[in-house]
């Protein structure tokens, strides 16, 4: 019997980070250098298997990967499925790109850190957890990965525990994550108690509009929206992003994006058939608009560099929720063909875009803080003289997040503007206004931190390793900028087909 490695890639995507998380800390006891190499190997292998899985999905189509019993029966505890489809490919590609870039960057950032092995272990555990969240096709297994992600990422936020603020941010994040985890478990119990199954596909066929179904839907929707830092449950995000150690910041943001991926998977894949999608889509649209507007206006009054980008991150999450909400609201209607599918394309394209340029912005902000030990825009200035590469990387990320043509952020936002206008013109106007304010904010940050006379705040650039982490993300942003149609047709469209496959007639 031949071993088809392509078929087993979902297992490797989960196994590699978990295995190397513990190998790294073990090897680091003997040599810090070898520990770093082990960490890098874990990241690269995970990325390699993500590439293999995505390649097979894009060429031969998706598949269901099963652990345990092969037969589908009710009340079968020993059967966990993982979904390897276009949507999982989109999610894991986004996560892998960010993880590899942030991982490489961390070598430079943690150069003088004695206990960096713990950071690497937590980083890989978070990677394994978030990959599991987006790949699983089983509700209880989702809860397990949710907890793995929460515990590891909370510990990452508290990594610089000599700073009180980090510990405080981690405590808030931990309480919300734990309460969220319990609520998720409770809602899983509600569904399992009624139908005796945990598998997404089986549940999808069983879900109707019972009292308990609606309760489970509301609970799951709110908790995953909270983890995705949706307004008004976003307040933990600026704390956690702002206080997490430098290279972990974009990765904590990626766990939020992972939660949004899960939310979309649940709404389409589990509740999409039995529940009125128009009403649920409307909830996503409302949360999205709130997130866009409140996020961007809060960013406008921030002077702390990382908190400012964190609020912009909240705002960008709003775009995705609004666009996919429009897609969900128009599902099974003629409007889906007219503009709903386009909104989905815009929303999902924005997810992969946002994952990459937001990570770039966070890493360049961290580079500034790392070199100057300053994070207030009142104290920074003139850094472009001594940090030209960081300035350039920041500019690429800033133009992209602001949706300035021809950057990749513009391509996805253009799809969103066009489609949501046809759903409700006011939404398109709000999206445009938010983009303009985002551009103004990015102008403020760029002017305050990088322009002006050299104030002697730094003696030069960050290390080449840190620069290479940012360069990887910049290269991806430029690639997405130059070939948006390719990304939409090869990565985003299969994701939409996977998401709506079981729902559309």
């Amino acid at each position: 019997m031949s071993f088809d490695i392509m078929l087993h890639t979902p297992t490797f995507i989960l196994a590699m980070p978990l295995l190397f998380a513990f190998l790294t800390i073990l090897v680091s006891k003997f040599s810090k250098k070898f520990g770093e190499m082990t960490f890098l190997l874990g990241l690269l292998l995970t990325g390699f298997f993500v590439f293999l899985m995505s390649y097979r999905i894009f060429t031969d189509g998706g598949w269901i990967y099963t652990f345990g019993a092969e037969e589908v029966t009710t009340r079968n505890f020993f059967r966990i499925t993982f979904i390897a489809d276009g949507f999982a490919a989109l999610a894991t590609i986004t996560i892998a790109i960010t993880a590899i870039a942030a991982g490489i960057y961390s070598f430079g950032y943690l150069e003088k850190e004695m206990s960096s092995d713990k950071f690497y272990t937590l980083f890989l555990l978070t990677l394994g957890g978030v990959n599991g969240m987006v790949l699983t096709g089983d509700l209880f297994n989702l809860f397990v990965w949710f907890e793995v992600t929460s515990v590891a990422s909370c510990a990452l936020v508290a990594y610089e525990n000599y700073r009180g603020r980090s510990v405080e941010a981690a405590l808030k994040y931990m309480v919300l994550s734990t309460v969220g985890g319990l609520v998720v478990l409770f809602s899983i119990g509600l569904l399992y108690g009624q139908y005796g199954v945990l598998n997404y596909a089986l549940l999808s066929g069983s879900i109707s509009r019972t009292f308990l179904d609606k309760l489970a839907l509301a609970l799951l929707l709110v908790i995953f929206a909270m983890k995705a830092s949706s307004v008004p449950m976003h307040m933990w995000a600026p704390d956690a992003y702002g206080e997490a150690p430098g290279p972990a910041t974009p990765f904590i943001a990626i766990t939020s994006l992972g939660s949004l991926f899960v939310l979309f998977r649940l709404l389409f894949g589990v509740f999409g058939v039995g529940i009125d999608t128009a009403a649920i889509g409307a909830i996503l649209v409302i949360l999205g608009v709130l997130s866009m507007f409140v996020g961007v206006t809060m960013a406008l009054v921030q002077n702390d560099l990382k908190r400012l980008i964190a609020y912009l991150s909240v705002s960008q999450m709003g775009y995705m929720m609004m666009a996919v909400g429009v897609g969900l609201a128009t599902l099974n209607t003629v409007e889906y063909q007219n503009f709903g599918e386009l909104a989905m394309k815009g929303g999902l394209f924005h997810m992969i875009n946002d994952g990459v340029y937001k990570a770039l912005l966070f890493l360049s902000a961290v580079a500034v803080i790392h070199k100057t030990d300053l994070r207030s825009l009142n104290d920074l200035g003139g850094l472009a003289h001594k940090m030209p590469y960081t300035t350039m990387f920041f500019l690429v990320g800033a133009l992209s997040i602001a949706g300035i043509p021809p950057m990749s952020g513009f391509s996805s936002k253009l799809l969103i503007y066009q489609s949501v206008y046809l759903y409700n013109p006011i939404l398109a106007v709000i999206a445009l206004v938010v983009s303009i304010i985002t551009f103004a904010i990015m102008g403020k940050v760029f002017f305050n931190a990088f322009l002006g006379p050299d104030q002697g705040l730094t003696d030069g650039e960050v290390s080449n390793v840190m620069l290479s982490g940012m360069a990887i993300l910049t290269a991806v942003v430029i690639l997405f900028t130059l070939f948006p149609n390719l990304v939409v047709s090869e990565i985003v469209t299969p994701a939409i087909e996977a998401l709506t496959g079981g729902v559309l007639p």
Binding site: K172, G452, P453
Partner: protein, 112 residues
């Protein structure tokens, strides 16, 4: 079925080419500018409404607080409660989760 056709094209490569051509034209125009211009010692120094530039170089730079001050001041009725609402207290974070959950729950029972 209503036929809606989204018209227009978006090609970033064409856009970049247009930017490059425009930049080239601008550069040519710049080069054709006043040939008598000569850079002297004081040309290129910061101009602060005719005031003498301060000796402390950091005072030349506008700090973050001052940018968009007019905007936030004009809309302070919106910004003040918004900023005050972000208390940083964990209890308030939980309240918002519970409030959102209640609203979503009521909406789902009524609309779905």
């Amino acid at each position: 079925m209503i036929d809606i056709v989204l018209e227009g094209i978006w090609s970033p490569i064409v856009f970049i080419l247009v930017i490059l051509i425009t930049t080239l034209v601008a550069y040519i125009l710049y080069e054709m500018g006043n040939p008598s211009y000569k850079r002297t010692k004081h040309k290129g120094e910061p101009f602060i409404s005719g005031n003498r530039p301060p000796k402390d170089i950091r005072k030349i730079h506008v700090p973050g607080d001052n940018l968009f001050w007019g905007f936030t001041e004009a809309l302070k009725n919106y910004f003040e409660p918004l900023v005050e609402g972000h208390t940083g207290k964990l209890n308030d974070y939980m309240y918002w989760v519970v409030i959102t959950l209640a609203v979503v729950l009521i909406y789902i029972y009524m609309a779905v």
